[in-house]
């Protein structure tokens, strides 16, 4: 399992960076534009899927192991849960960072505007958590399915 030909490998590496960047953009701007954690995470997972197909499972597992992906997934989910729990001062899921002036805490004027990146409180942070979780979980699923198709134990 050494993957596909050199041409495919090179082209996929060229594409890898833009796809990853786009995925990160979609995750980061989830509170301003359509998109968010799940969509961005899926885009990132497509980049990883491209890598998996082009380079084969052996190379993929050398860089991102099963245990590592599963641990990253848990960390993403846990940070989402922790962010929700931190709002318990008022209510579960309360947005304690919004309009606080600190991190992501700028208040937004009423009406249409160009979008302020540094706003929306815990929502962008939760988007990041979900993005991490979805990207790692989807690539884990793809890896396991790829392995099972090749007949390597699950």
């Amino acid at each position: 399992m050494s993957g596909l030909s050199q041409i495919v490998k090179t082209v996929s590496l060229v594409l890898f960076v833009p796809i990853l960047t786009f995925g990160l953009y979609v995750v980061a701007h989830g509170h301003l534009t359509p998109g968010g954690g799940f969509q961005g995470g899926t885009v990132i997972a497509t980049a990883l899927a491209l890598f998996l197909v082009a380079f084969g499972a052996k190379e993929f597992k050398r860089i991102l192991g099963k245990d590592f992906l599963s641990a990253v997934e848990s960390i993403g989910l846990l940070s989402f849960g922790a962010l929700a729990l931190l709002g318990l001062g008022t209510a579960f899921f309360a947005n304690f960072l919004a309009n606080s002036g600190g991190l992501f805490g700028k208040s937004v004027p009423v009406g249409a505007n160009a979008g302020i990146f540094n706003s929306a409180g815990t929502i962008p942070l939760m988007n990041f958590a979900v993005g991490i979780e979805v990207a790692s979980a989807l690539s884990l699923v793809l890896l396991l399915m790829y392995l099972s198709e090749k007949g390597v134990g699950k």
């Binding site: 301003l32 534009t33 359509p34 799940f38 009406g111 249409a112 505007n113 160009a114 979008g115 699923v141 396991l144 399915m145 099972s148 198709e149 699950k154």
Partner: protein, 124 residues
């Protein structure tokens, strides 16, 4: 009659797709085809939800760079709830499809067949 049909085309299409998916799920014995039928049913429900949220001459419910004609009012924006529902249902149907396909893989490894009538061993 035709006019009414055309006006409600998304709903008709989604109902048709739902029935097609249900047919595949009930009458096909190949496990992969059953998974396909299930995804078709999921898409039918998604189309239905999206069609529910459609409002003529409305704009997307995003404040960033929204077109300003006087003051922006919420009445012009489409309600984002059906879209949020669709998104959640897409996420869930992704998980269901992945689970169904991986179970099909395991079934194939055990029985060497994807045909439900051959692979199923539990009696009725």
């Amino acid at each position: 009659m035709i006019e009414a049909l055309m006006q409600n085309l998304p709903f008709v299409v989604s109902a048709l797709l739902f029935v097609i998916g249900l047919y595949a799920l009930l009458f096909k014995s190949n496990l992969i085809k059953m998974a396909i039928g299930l995804s078709i049913m999921g898409s039918a429900v998604n189309i239905f939800l999206i069609a529910l949220g459609y409002k003529e001459n409305s704009i997307a419910p995003i404040f960033t760079n929204a077109p300003i004609n006087g003051s922006i009012n919420a009445a012009k924006m489409a309600m984002p709830i059906p879209q949020a529902l669709t998104l959640t249902s897409i996420v869930i149907s992704l998980a269901v499809t992945a689970l169904m396909l991986s179970l099909a893989v395991v079934v194939y490894r055990h029985c060497g067949s994807l045909n439900a009538s051959k692979a199923w061993r539990l009696k009725k």
